[in-house]
């Protein structure tokens, strides 16, 4: 394991300290919690937005705290959902009386812990609503299973729900646009290398020098299919086809080419070239492109592609001003 660490069991604590020290004018940590909030919570007259999950996905989620996006991020152990008591602290800190909206990625752990927190908050008289993001088309959806994972598409939910909340919208309105994003966003990932949870010290899986995994999540889980590394054009086609086969895209879309950690921007741009070519051949118009690291899996090499079907409302919320560390409209 080649990492810049102190005690591998104190990774999250060290990271949180380093994070709030870096941006003291923007972020604060609630004392004795793993909750990071913006400096001015609660914002009067605004629905509070809380997200979070295991750490190891930086800049998600704390990087999306700020005007026009999240009010707080709850940080769990590496790849492990945070606990209900921490989520509850976040909810209490951001509630201005207008209610709190939770953006949850669809993992059993996250869903259960955030739901327990919501129950506790409601018992304290706070209105709480939530959305569960499940954009990953690698996993088939079915009412009998856990359903799809939530991956990079979550960032679009933060942005759009955040913009709506920033307008002073009611909780139900924030929920409506968040659900609209979830209904319209799809992602698919691939990896070239595994990653290593610091406290475990070992890579999450093995891949041969000429192999890649298709349909990877963001927790170092193995993918759905292992095959020979293809050219960028083939990877672009595989990811795009899987997405558009799941849901029809037309008119205007937003594209996110998300690096999982080790993959250089250079390669993300190369992939972007091929993705844009494919989409324009399909007559799909690209309204906005985001290339970079938005939802990572520590030092995993690989990427995910996210498409968001836009309409006028989503376009204007996507473009609305935001002041965060990691997302710049």
């Amino acid at each position: 394991m080649k990492k810049i660490l102190n005690d591998p069991n104190e990774t999250v604590e060290d990271m949180l300290e380093g994070l709030v020290l870096a941006y003291p004018e923007k972020l604060q940590r609630l004392p004795e919690t793993t909750v990071v909030t913006s400096k001015n919570v609660p914002v009067t007259g605004k629905v509070g937005l809380v997200s979070g999950g295991g750490s190891g996905h930086e800049p998600a989620h704390a990087g999306y705290i700020g005007k026009g996006m999240l009010d707080a991020a709850v940080v769990g152990e590496v790849f492990t959902s945070p606990t209900p008591d921490q989520v509850l602290e976040a909810i209490k800190a951001v509630d201005s009386g207008k209610g709190v909206f939770l953006v949850i990625k669809n993992y059993t752990g996250d869903v259960m812990n955030f739901e327990m927190a919501a129950e506790l908050a409601e018992a304290e008289g706070i209105k709480v609503e939530k959305v569960i993001v499940n954009d990953d088309v690698a996993v088939e959806d079915s009412s009998f299973t856990t359903g799809r994972r939530g991956i990079a598409g979550t960032v679009f939910v933060h942005k759009i729900a955040g913009a709506k909340a920033d307008e002073g919208a009611e909780l139900s309105e924030v929920k409506r646009v968040a659900e609209k994003v979830v209904a319209n966003v799809r992602s698919m990932g691939m990896a070239l290398t595994p990653c290593t949870v610091p406290a475990a010290g070992k890579p999450s899986f093995q891949l041969d020098e000429n192999e890649m995994e298709i349909g990877i999540g963001v927790h170092g889980e193995p993918g759905i299919e292992r095959k020979k590394i293809g050219k960028a054009a083939e990877i672009a086609s595989e990811l795009t086809e899987k997405i558009v086969r799941d849901r029809e895209f037309s008119g205007e879309v937003a594209v996110m080419i998300n690096g999982l950690g080790a993959t250089p921007e250079m390669e993300l741009y190369i992939l972007n070239k091929n993705v844009q070519k494919i989409l324009s051949e399909k007559g799909i118009h690209i309204y906005r492109t985001y290339v970079g690291e938005y939802m990572t899996s520590m030092e995993m090499a690989g990427c995910s592609l996210t498409l968001l079907q836009l309409d006028e409302e989503l376009k204007s919320l996507l473009d609305a001003a935001a002041d965060t560390i990691a997302f710049h409209p």
Partner: protein, 204 residues
């Protein structure tokens, strides 16, 4: 068989020993069809639970279970935190006020725990989760009483049934058919929990 607060504490201590010893193994089970943290989660949670119990003074098993529940809920995270946390919370509620639990009372507690897990996780048997250990083991205890050697065998058998199952809940579900061929991590830690119980009761 009867169980008092001290034995409840011993149960958790024994379970903690097992989770510390098998931290790597549990994590390795969670790697091919999960995210490779189950051993870390369980060992972190039970270590804290034991620390908490050491500092306390308990007159009923229910009080022990409550502190275990709150510790697991607030220290584990992931899927196993709320599931095991809920289990102990329900056990605490179902056995509230009793200084000593006889077989019937303890089984009632375990049934409540199982219901809690199923409700929280929305899972039933055959989905390749800890439910596949809890449900048969609790049923067997109800029918057969606390014959500790057999309890161990039953729990192990139940754990092994998860190997061939295809997961439909938890992270392993993302691997669909490919999840078959691996024992479920949470089923294994549930096995350790019952094994620890067998050892504590065996010592009575």
């Amino acid at each position: 068989m009867e169980i008092n607060a001290m034995q409840a504490v011993q149960w958790i201590e024994k379970a903690n020993e097992k989770f510390q010893e098998n931290r790597e193994y549990l994590t390795s089970l969670d790697r091919p069809i999960g995210d490779g943290d189950h051993g870390l989660n369980m060992s972190r949670g039970f270590k804290e639970a034991v620390k908490k119990l050491k500092a306390g003074n308990y007159s009923t098993p229910s009080d022990v279970f409550k502190d275990v529940a709150m510790t697991l809920i607030s220290k584990v995270g992931g899927a196993s935190g709320p599931l095991f946390g809920t289990a102990f919370l329900k056990m605490s509620v179902a056995t509230a006020g009793q200084q000593v639990l006889n077989e019937t009372a303890f089984v009632k507690g375990l049934e409540a725990a199982l219901d809690g897990i199923k409700q929280r996780g929305k899972a039933t048997t055959g989905e390749k989760t800890m439910v596949d250990v809890w449900q048969p083991v609790v049923a067997w205890l109800k029918d057969n009483g606390f014959a500790t050697a057999s309890l161990l065998v039953e729990a192990e058998k139940a754990m092994n049934t998860t190997k061939d199952m295809t997961a439909t809940k938890g992270r392993a579900a993302y691997f669909k058919e490919k999840s078959a061929g691996h024992i479920d991590a949470g089923a294994t830690s549930s096995y350790y929990l019952f094994a620890a119980l067998a050892e504590v009761l065996g010592g009575i």
